[in-house]
Amino acid sequence: MKGTFVDFDALFGHLGQHTVDGLSKGSIYALVALGYTLVYGVLRLINFAHSEVFMIGTFTVVGTWSVLGATDSPAIGTVILLLLAGLVAAAAASGATAVAVERIAYRRLRRMNAPPLIFLITAIGLSLVLSEAFGLWQGRLVKGMPTIVERSVLFTIGNTEVTNIQAITVVAALIMMFGLDTFINRTRYGRGVRAVAQNPDTAALMGVNKDRVIALIFLLGGLLAGAAALLYCLRYGNTRFNVGFVLGLKAFTAAVLGGIGNLRGALLGGLLLGIVEVYAATLTSSNWEDVAAFVVLVVVLLFRPTGLLGESLGRARA
C-alpha cells in the first residue's frame, strides 16, 4: 500500500468519469447547501437541524414508495407516478419539518434576541432529537428501498459514461437552483427575502412581514432538501436515521466553500466539493476524501475569507 499511496493513473486515466461522478455527487450537496445558505443569508444562523430535514425527506420517499407498493424497475408510467409522489411527499415533509423547526424553536429565540451560539446549540439539540426519533422508530440500520429507475448509460464520451441517474441528478439540481435564483431575484416574495437579508429593519419599514419571509426561506430550504432527498434515494437506494449528519456537514462545508449566504456559491461549492472528494478518493482511498474536502476548504478560506463567491443574498454585488 505504501508505494501506491497516491495513484495518479487512477485519477487521470478516467478524469472525465470522475468529474461526472463528482458533479452528480456534488449536485445533492448543492441542493442541501442551498437550505443552509438561505437561512444563513437572511438570519446569519447555521441551521444545524437542516440535515435532519433532509433525512426526513429520504424516509418520506421510502414510506411513500412502500405505501404505493413500489417494486424494482416498474413500468415507465409507474416510474413517473412514483417519482412525482416521492417528490411531492418528500418536499412536503421536509418543508413542513423545516417550518416547524423555525416555529417551535427559532422564532422563540428570535423574540428573545438570543445570541447566535444559542441558536446553534438549540439546532444541535433539535437535530439530535429528530435523528434519534427516527433511529428509534425506523431502526438504526440502513434501510433499503426498491430501485425505481434502473441505471443505464445515456451516452459515452471517450471513456466517460454518463448514466441516466447522474443526468437526472445534475439536471434536476440545476433546474431547481435556477428556479430558486429566479424566484429570489425576480419575484416580489424573492425581493422581500433579499430585503430582509440586506437590511431587516428597512425591510420591515417597507411592509415586509419578517416572520413570513423567514418562514418562507425555511420552507424553500425544506422543499429543496426534500427534492435532494428524492434524488438521493434514486441514486443511492438507501437511507438511515443518521444519514443527515455526514451529508449535512458536507453540504454546510459546500455552502461555506462557495460563500455562505450566496445561492450561486452554494451550487458552485457543492459541485466543487463533490469533485474534490471523488478525485481525492481516487487518488488515495475513499477514507481520505473528508480530509481532502476540509483541506480544500481551509485553503480556499485562507485566500478568500468569505468563500469563493463571497457572502450574502445580493449583498456581494454592491
Partner: protein
C-alpha cells in the same frame, strides 16, 4: 389627529431613551422634530414605525391604537418611513429598491404611475434605475430613500434626516420636494439636524432634549425663539 403619541417611554436595555413624550400630527401637516444628536428623535421615529418596542404610553394612528402593532402592518395602515442612514438595499437596483417601497401594494397600474412620479421628482434616479443601490452617492441614496417611501403612498411619511450628508443645493431641492409632497396631500413627520430648513418648512415643531420634549410651537415661532436659535441654529 392622524398621529397621536401619548406619554411614550422607551428603553434601551436599562437606559431610558424617551421619557414620556407626547406628540400629535394632524392630517396635512409637516411636523418637525429637532434636537441634538442622541436627543431621542430617531428613537421616536422608530417607535412610530414599529421598529422599537414601547415601554409605556400609546401611539394612535387615524384613531386606531397601533402601539403594539407589527411594523409591516403599520405600512399597510399607511405609515412609511425613510430611515436614518437611508437604509438602501445595497444589492438591489434603484428600480428594485423603489419596488420595495410598493411592497404592500397590489395596484400595478397605480404603482407604475407612482414610479413615474418619483422619477419626475428625482430625475437622477431615472438615469440610474439599473444601478445597484449600494453604488449610488450619498445624495442619490437619500433621494432613493425618500422616493422609495413615497412609493408606499403613505398617509403619513416619516422622514429621518433627509438632508444628511447632502450638498446645500441638494438640501434645498429635497426640502422643496418635501413641501411639494406635502402639498400633494401627504402628512409628514420630519426629523432634522438642519433646524433652519426644518423649522422654516414645518407647520409645527417639537424640540427634543435628552429624551424629553422641551419646547413646541409653530415652525416660525420656534425659528425666532431665542432659546432655539441659541441652541440649535448655531450662530447666535
Amino acid at each position: 389627529m392622524l398621529l397621536e403619541i401619548d406619554n411614550l417611554t422607551l428603553r434601551y436595555g436599562r437606559i431610558e431613551a424617551l421619557h414620556g413624550i407626547s406628540i400629535t400630527v394632524a392630517e396635512g401637516e409637516i411636523v418637525a422634530l429637532i434636537g441634538a444628536n442622541g436627543a431621542g428623535k430617531t428613537t421616536t421615529m422608530r417607535a412610530v414605525s414599529g421598529l422599537r418596542p414601547v415601554a409605556t404610553g400609546s401611539i394612535k394612528f387615524a384613531g386606531e391604537d397601533i402601539t403594539n402593532l407589527r411594523a409591516d402592518l403599520r405600512v399597510i395602515r399607511g405609515i412609511c418611513q425613510s430611515p436614518e442612514g437611508r437604509g438602501i438595499f445595497p444589492g438591489m437596483t434603484v428600480l428594485e429598491n423603489l419596488d420595495m417601497g410598493a411592497y404592500t401594494r397590489r395596484d400595478t397600474s397605480a404603482i407604475a404611475s407612482d414610479l413615474d412620479r418619483v422619477f419626475g421628482l428625482f430625475p437622477r434616479l431615472a438615469e440610474r434605475r439599473k444601478q445597484a443601490g449600494g453604488t449610488l452617492s450619498g445624495g442619490e441614496q437619500q433621494m432613493l430613500a425618500v422616493g422609495r417611501a413615497l412609493m408606499a403612498r403613505p398617509k403619513l411619511l416619516l422622514l429621518d434626516e433627509p438632508s444628511m450628508g447632502l450638498a446645500p443645493m441638494v438640501i434645498q431641492q429635497i426640502f422643496e420636494i418635501i413641501t411639494e409632497i406635502n402639498q400633494q396631500g401627504t402628512t409628514i413627520l420630519l426629523v432634522e439636524q438642519n433646524a433652519q430648513q426644518a423649522l422654516s418648512r414645518a407647520h409645527r415643531a417639537y424640540v427634543l432634549e435628552t429624551g424629553k420634549i422641551v419646547q413646541e410651537g409653530t415652525g416660525q415661532d420656534l425659528l425666532t425663539d431665542s432659546r432655539v436659535r441659541d441652541a440649535y441654529l448655531g450662530v447666535a
